[in-house]
Symmetry: C2
Subunit: 150 residues, 2 copies
């Protein structure tokens, strides 16, 4: 990462950050699926091989949670982030498989100050890649404190 | 649930399903946050009280994963579902707190057969409620096998 934004004012449209190295194991895929996404194509290798996804893959919600983890650790926790209202877009472009090594490229899309409170909305794309290609695109808008809030 | 759809052809626009009873504990909120969303307002009660969310709340990704769990268990696992390409909309309308008891109301929004393959796209809203009000709305489009696929 080139610089570490701390306040809302440090973000600008077109800004990019690259970070993260998350190696997904088969045990993690099974564990998450057992708890949150108990569908056969995430739980059973034979069912996964027979499925549209042609092999074992992680739940999309696990992939989103891993993306969240990378962004919290490497970007949002350096700011005073205060949550967000949702996800504008979440596309699972390619299956994420056990053994994949994931990294994140964030692009800032819009920065909008709050009309009254000392925070702003930072709309960003989380582009998640494995070793070969982009696997997921998530667009979300965390609320981040301004300098005045400190 | 009134009936259990099994194939794509069993779904129709306007169809509704209500199910689920998921009681969220504080330990689950902390555990998920430590693994996937290590931001202070999900990890620390004092930081949570001081935050925009005014108290401890679950990561939005945990709420989405719980919604996935309820839908897999009560709806999708009765069909031959084959995954999906993403989430069209995910709105965290209200914080989800430890002690909340969550239930799901699904509404079918669109049903679109695949032009060539024996599957169809079932666009649905997952409306998640606690004891008092709606907390989350997710719109997603699982791919579900037709009768011909069997």
């Amino acid at each position: 990462m080139m610089d570490s934004p701390v306040h809302f004012e440090d973000f600008y449209v077109g800004q990019r950050f690259t970070f993260g190295h998350y190696e997904l194991t088969q045990e993690e895929v099974f564990e998450f699926a057992r708890e949150f996404d108990p569908q056969a194509h995430h739980l059973d290798e034979q069912a996964a091989d027979d499925s549209m996804l042609r092999g074992l893959s992680a739940s999309g919600w696990q992939v989103g949670a891993i993306a969240m983890r990378l962004c919290a650790e490497h970007l949002l926790n350096k700011t005073k982030a205060a949550g967000g209202a949702g996800v504008e877009e979440c596309r699972w472009l390619k299956p994420v498989r056990p053994g994949d090594i994931l990294r994140m490229e964030v692009e800032i899309l819009e920065v909008t100050p709050h009309p009254r409170r000392p925070v702003g909305f930072v709309k960003m794309a989380w582009n998640l890649f494995n070793q070969h290609e982009q696997v997921t695109r998530i667009v979300t808008t965390p609320v981040i404190a301004t300098r005045d809030a400190a």
